[in-house]
């Protein structure tokens, strides 16, 4: 029969490389009509980073996401980037993008200031306008400022910048130091049904509460959580590379390497908790990897809650779970029973 269980797991995860420098550079060019192009050396690997970086540039320039065209992925044409790794793109590349956009923005402010009769420091960029802080009625369209900068004053609004997270090296004896600039936190709670006659585990639903600092694009954050959970389910219950006695893989194919399909996914409820990191672009941190971290623990804790067996090695395949259930029944013991 099916037994229901639930399990919690929480986690923390760092953003960026461990201590070592991992800079990103970016260039923002504001075109004469107030739209912009962003050059970044990162590579889109599916998470939507180019869209998010475009949103960051747009926010700094006070224009809309669609006004920014993002170009990437050519070592000749784009500035360097340490890469789409370690969940660092929104935070590190994002900071570089924001700083680059800010530099371009200042050229716009200088072009607009004389027209508006104020000093550049008094200006802000909002709603596709350059306007006076505290007196927004006095404004010009960003297109006018951009045109004036490039065509009249001969100063094209281009900004380039780089950013690297500040860290402190770890002591070689004690490991004490500041290896990362920031961390994110999350909790996932899983509800499972365990069939105590077959050992099969079905994940019914997962409540996932994740911190990513300011969510630049909440829809893409949700996508990362859902995708990360699918990897976590595979890690918990299905996936394993098997080797024969001579060190050759037995199942290097998708027929025998079991991974989650649409039928294996639970109902997922995502919450992005309120959070703001002053060291990140507009308060953002990152989310790419953390989403797959606590899932297996939550599921395994739920299995224990359901049938009272503690599986201490992954994956918790049906065979393993069933063997543990049978061993527990045979021993007639209550409480915790270890099984490898």
């Amino acid at each position: 029969m099916k037994r229901r269980g639930r399990g919690i797991a929480c986690m923390w995860y760092p953003i960026g490389f461990t201590v070592s420098a991992n800079p990103s550079a970016a260039t923002v060019k504001v075109n004469e009509d107030g739209t912009a192009t962003l050059l970044t050396g990162t590579v889109e690997t599916g998470q939507g980073s180019l869209t998010v970086l475009g949103q960051i540039a747009a926010e700094e320039l006070g224009i809309a996401t669609d006004d920014v065209h993002v170009v990437s992925a050519d070592t000749d044409a784009m500035p360097m980037d340490t890469g789409a790794i370690a969940s660092r793109t929104t935070y590190v590349t994002g900071n570089a993008v924001r700083l680059a956009a800010e530099k371009a923005k200042w050229i716009l402010f200088e072009a607009a200031a004389t027209l508006l009769g104020v000093k550049p420091e008094q200006l802000e960029a909002r709603d596709r306008k350059i306007q006076v802080k505290g007196y927004p009625q006095r404004s010009i369209a960003i297109s006018e400022a951009a045109h004036r900068a490039q065509v009249v004053l001969g100063q094209p609004p281009i900004g380039s910048a780089s950013w690297n997270p500040p860290t402190v090296a770890m002591d070689p004896e004690t490991g004490q130091g500041k290896p990362f600039s920031t961390y994110v936190y999350a909790t996932q709670i899983a509800e499972v049904d365990v069939d105590d006659e077959t050992g099969e585990v079905e994940v019914l639903r997962i409540a996932a509460a994740h911190d990513c600092g300011t969510p630049i694009n909440p829809m893409l954050v949700e996508g990362q959580v859902e995708g990360g959970i699918s990897m976590g389910i595979g890690f918990a219950l299905q996936e394993q590379i098997l080797f024969d006695g001579a060190g050759r893989q037995i199942n290097p194919n998708l027929t025998n390497y079991i991974m989650p399909t649409s039928l294996d996914m639970p109902e997922i409820e995502v919450d992005i908790v309120d959070s703001y990191d002053p060291t990140g672009p507009f308060g953002a941190k990152g989310v790419g990897e953390p989403t797959s971290v606590p899932t297996a623990a939550a599921i395994l804790n739920a299995i224990h809650d359901a049938v009272g067996v503690r599986i201490t090695s992954l994956p918790a395949t049906a065979e393993k779970v069933l063997a543990a259930i049978k061993a527990k029944q045979a021993q007639g013991t209550k409480g915790l029973l270890r099984n490898r």
Partner: protein, 466 residues
Amino acid sequence: MTKKAKVADKTQSTTLRTPGSAGDLLRLPAVTLPVAFPVETLVPEVRLQTPAVGQRATRPDGRLHGLGQTRYIDDLAFPGMLHAKIKRAGIAAARIRSIDTREAEAMPGVLAVLTGREIPVNSFGPSLQDQPVLADERVFHAGDGVAAVAALTEQIAAEAIEKIKVEYEPLPAVFDPLEALREDAPRVHAPDSNIYASKVIRKGDVDAAFARADHTFEGQYRTQMVEHVPLEPHAAIAMWDANGRVTIHTTLGRITLGRADVARTLKLPLNRVRLVATIVGGNFGGKNEITQEPVLALLSKKTGRPVKGVFTRGEEFASSTTRHPFIMDYKTGVSKDGRIVARKVRLVLDGGAYCSWSETTLGKACILSAGPYRIDNLHVEAYAVYTNKTMTGAMRGFGAPQVCFAYESQMDEIAAALGMDPLEIRLLNAFEEGSASPTGQALHSVVLKDTLRKAAERFGWKEPRS
């Protein structure tokens, strides 16, 4: 008298509307099909809003994905392009006595063959450069590449690598990381030890704290080797120009580093190397270092033509990086009210045949292994050990999913033993704003308890069970 309208003669010479039949007449290769898509801009409202941050903006590349118009590396073709295949060792540990490529070279349609000896600098790696581009003297895992072929078609290349004869002298191999730690274990690389990276984190006085603890819990937890399984296999296309510049279109997610690695292995200045990516069809850490790029570059140099290489799914599993299996020993001391007073952790990472991203994984896992909890007395030691298996590298989380499985499993065991709610014991121990991390760092923007409470609320943790 009415004139009959002329009826179009179907047998007359074809118009632009029926290019298929024109192809038959002119014996052209298949004429391309029209691909229709709306050109008039449909911009979603969310992309037009200001401010931009916080918008559920749709992705312009997402639109192209749905149209099938995104060009991944394997979708690209260049005039005169050849196809490359790499011969895989199939043996986990061996010395290479000889490689005989003559039969392969003689095959019609094979334009070049490459072995490790021809690679200017035959080693790479993000921290230790212990991985060969093509195995030259020794093989360290069954998926090692030992030779490569460039041919007119993929089929011919695949047949040609079968004809390459490699003579191996098998060496003793070790597959279990705990065995590899032993004094008498076969040495994978260096003669002194199979441990190639280690780290320690120490804080407070664990032994004294354990002595004071009301309860102590011990457990061992293990995780398995898994693979990224990106839907898109590794792919790259290399080509040269008359100024000695090589351009490599590749599925790498880190082209700055990729360029550095290619320049280094080919002994070229950085500005003679260009790496171009399009969109990577899934990375998750497996496409963060070079694999076949220098091989394709050298085959392209030999043949004077662009050369494309695409991994088979089998190569994805056996010849690209995987996630480190971990063996984790946890000892935790708690007070009777459930506060963690001491934690001792030992991590052994199955480090595979090459270092790859193991040092990073080791470092992160070490730091994260204590869990997001306030612990004053901590001792963590971690080791990465060579084994003669597929190299373990970067995979989503760098050790975090493994240690989280261990520390969260043990947390529940502690809660059960003390009769505490798993949620409450976590809230009791969780990091807060300003808490000290295992490395003594004062943490900021800490919202761990918010995530615990929010998830519990969403789940209905406090509600009575049905």
